[in-house]
Symmetry: C2
């Protein structure tokens, strides 16, 4: 029987500076906890906006340094985007799924289906020149590294979730989605769990880390609030060896290619 | 400037009985608040599992009372489901989108794309005979009615969100999704909101009620916990005239039909 808690809280930590390439995210996390008067505890989930992971890992690229290929130039005309941006999108993607004027939806090398390969041009300092911020190279590994750093430093057994705001098929609006996970289930297997009447549940797999991501997004805000780290408490984490990759449906099994 | 709060809490209320057809949900809500020692306040969001709305509204159908059409019988063979269940699914749907063995994905008359038209056979008493629970007839109206009942009874200006757990394209696992909304934004328009550097945000619309739904799902649990009502506090609700229907992308604009 999986025990689901009766209350959860999501607290956006204060005192997070503008993150720079090379910054140590565990330093930033502990400073933010101090600024907010919180100490990390076993079972806490630390949720981080993808942007600060990408910035710390040096994933900001100056468009001036990008030379678009012929394929990127051609695609850029179709979707009416900067060919250098399209070059970066293609370099981060496995497949182009949809192209429309202003729209370029791809399957990212991580398996995520998203617009512009998740490359972001907001909340990045623009020193007169365009800058694009790519997703982290391996967000599951980034999450695992931060989890290990927290354990080494504070002995707290925390989970880490790295999130981005993505669009969805059929529904308007973006929602927070887990792109990196460590120390908890990404996908929670409920097969065999009985319902109130003892029948097996029809819903057999829960997108646990995605629900955490959406909730954390509520307190991060999307705009200028500058609250990219959220502390979540009270959530049953499930098996600690989960990954965000567990949430990706293999393309061969997907009904909406 | 939209002010996003720094902390939100989601509390599953205790003392919710097995809901029966004809039950008054505001009675059940206030009894559950009393049982949990909580009084409703302005700005609270009440999140309810679709199942208890459907049960209260008498949407449980005995399969023995259903006569499948020829089309339903044919489709039932293709997807290996009970033809009476398929008849109910078709009666609730605009289009059949995908059919595979064990899988029937439709566009529901409410615009939702989901498996089996959201018809549920778990957590429903089975007196030796199959029973299927349909989605509420008009979940936005159900949410508005409960919001009005709360206002009349307690003077508290609350929002109401009715949620279901749905699968997604491209990702494994279900997530809580808003199917009925009143008293808050379903879709939150962020166009023109500046980022940290004063540039307009690229993400222009947030699936606010869906993020609330996913978060509430974390405390409801999926199985036998019997906690179908969640009290959410601390969320900036946005315009109070939102609806879950605002989250539906029109089929003509969808890239993944």
């Amino acid at each position: 029987m999986i025990v689901t808690p009766a209350a959860v809280t999501f607290l956006a930590l204060g005192g997070v500076p503008m993150v720079q390439s090379g910054d140590d995210l565990s330093d930033i996390l502990f400073a933010a906890c101090d600024a907010t008067g919180e100490a990390l505890r076993d079972g806490d989930i630390i949720v981080l906006a993808q942007k600060i992971i990408s910035k710390a890992e040096g994933r900001a690229i100056r468009l001036a340094d990008v030379t678009p290929s012929a394929a990127a130039i051609d695609l850029a005309v179709q979707c009416d985007k900067d060919p250098r941006l399209v070059e970066l999108i293609l370099s981060e993607s496995r497949d182009v799924m949809r192209v429309r004027r202003g729209v370029l939806i791809v399957r990212h090398r991580l398996g995520l289906v998203l617009a512009n390969a998740g490359i972001d041009q907001s909340n990045i300092a623009q020193d007169g020149e365009g800058v694009a911020l790519l997703l982290p190279r391996d967000p599951d590994a980034s999450a695992a590294a931060l989890r290990a750093a927290v354990l080494a430093r504070s002995k707290a057994d925390v989970a880490v979730v790295i999130i981005d705001s993505l669009g969805r098929a059929w529904r308007k609006g973006t929602c927070g989605v887990a792109i990196g996970v460590a120390g908890m289930a990404g996908l929670l297997d409920l097969r065999g769990v009985p319902d109130l009447h003892g029948r097996p549940l029809q819903t057999s797999e829960l997108g646990l880390a995605d629900e955490v991501a959406g909730a954390a997004s509520l307190v991060m805000g999307q705009a200028g609030e500058g609250r990219p780290i959220v502390l979540a408490r009270g959530i049953a984490r499930g098996p600690v060896d989960g990954r965000a990759a567990d949430l990706i449906r293999e393309p061969a099994l997907d009904l909406f290619p």
